[in-house]
Amino acid sequence: MTAFLMSLRDTFQVGRFHLIRAVRTWTVVFLCAVYMLGAGGVAWSFRGLIGKLEQSAAELLRVPVTDTPGAMVEILRGREELQSIMSGLIPDDTLLDWALSLPVLTIPHFWMALVLLPFIAAVIGAEVISPGIRDRSLRYELVRTGRLELMLGRWAGQCVLIGLGTTLSVLPPLVIGEFFMVGQPFGESLSVLLGMTPPLIAWSLPFLGLGVACSQSTANTNFARLFALFGTVSTWIAFGVFQTDWMVRKAPWLVDILEPLLPQSYIESLWGPGLVWVLPSVILLGLGIGFALLGFPLFARRNL
């Protein structure tokens, strides 16, 4: 028990030092800027799309066109017409009602984050270990702790940084909704966006783990980034292939074994009212640790 607690303490300390280093080297600022720019870009693009749709609708209804969008879309949010159109895309009535109750900018924020976050998390994860292998600075840290604690501590520290970036990424859609659109409910948007943050953080963890695994396998950070991106793309391709009838017919056992290990298998479960995201998030956390351990056998034997 004491050994377990000591190991846990070491992991916590490594994670803490990883955070302090990120603050000292301004990495945290860069990271948060990347997250906020991504979220801002998505929200701004969607604002433009809403603007175009509203302009067309205004011309059709013979009312003045506005430069600032949002008035019409807020009216449509509660109408039956939109519900009947969307029911084709979301057959589940409860899910449909919930989705239509969300402020308009929160929906693209969530779904675009599901697409973008894996790549950002994988690239960030690739920089966790390999620079230390390259400049051999890891040796000094490993005098005081084990390799597993070092790797998991840095993974955990990076998780906190990703959590911070994901949380701060709610600001751009809020600012755009409040100052560059009309009729957007600030308080409701804030609570919905904050509610979406934990599942998004959980969604990043397996890809962060993939990046950390790549980072352990090479001293070249660029290679590690490349491997991590390749790995992330591969999971999407594999997920697509496993969805095909052909694959299910030809190698059902392979689909049965590998599909549950793909984070994408849980993507839809993260989207829903209440706490439906909790169970898939626990699985994604497990996948995150599991993926990070993929590179550990190599790292454990590496001559530092």
Partner: protein, 234 residues
């Protein structure tokens, strides 16, 4: 940390192994479903159903020959009560649908069209108000005056529409003069509303505005659709 690593790995192994059974069961059932033959059904329910329904359609001739033997509807109903019951419920359903269609046609504007019209008016009002706010940037007092003018206009229009509906309720046909008076009152109400909106803004603000942003027709509320829809049913 070994324990945490073991816990995570156990979770993943459990996920894979625990899911193997249910997943293969689902696949097996799907396969069974796909393998169901497309050939003729050995049950006589379908044939009896067709024969019973054919017997009820007096305008059409019943099938001349059945591979299962020609039988009278009463005989079929006795032999296959499930099919008879099904036909009964289908006939009731069809009668209800026909009645619904007849009602829909006689009521003039359907519920769906009314809902669309409500949405269109709601969208027009929201967009016109947004354009007014964007171009004229009225302060709180000005906005309050404009909102009051719009509310008064909609109240007056509703009162006029109600008056017309009551007249129709009493079975009175509005004369040409009545119709002209209603139209004049409605236009007057709108002109008053526009004047009030204009008076709330200064000359510079009005100059900045798109003409449509002060058009009182853009501010007509969706509530009037309910009254007008009711008139269509008279």
């Amino acid at each position: 940390m070994n324990q945490i690593v073991l816990a995570a790995l156990s979770l993943l192994v459990g996920l894979v192994l625990g899911g193997l059974g249910p997943r293969s069961e689902v696949r097996h059932l799907q396969k069974q479903l796909e393998e169901q033959p497309d050939g003729p059904c050995v049950s006589t329910v379908g044939a009896d159903l067709a024969a019973l329904m054919g017997g009820r359609n007096r305008g059409q001739q019943a099938p001349q020959r059945s591979p299962l033997g020609d039988r009278e509807p009463a005989e079929l109903a006795e032999m296959n009560p499930e099919a008879a019951e099904l036909v009964e419920s289908m006939t009731d359903e069809q009668e209800r649908m026909e009645e619904g269609i007849r009602e829909e046609l006689s009521s003039g504007i359907g519920e769906e069209e009314q809902e669309l019209a409500r949405t269109a008016l709601e969208l027009r009002r929201a967009q016109a108000r947004a354009a007014l706010v964007e171009d004229a940037r009225p302060d709180e007092t000005q906005m309050e005056t404009i909102d009051t003018a719009v509310k008064d206009m909609n109240d007056s229009l509703l009162a006029l529409a109600d008056e017309m509906a009551e007249m129709l309720d009493r079975g009175e046909e509005p004369t040409r003069r009545d119709a002209m008076a209603f139209a004049a009152d409605a236009l007057d109400t709108m002109l008053v509303a526009e004047d009030e909106m204009r008076s709330a803004l200064d000359a510079d603000q009005i100059e900045q505005l798109d003409e449509g942003a002060l058009d009182p027709f853009s501010y007509v509320g969706p509530e009037i659709i309910d009254v007008l829809g009711g008139m269509g049913e008279q």
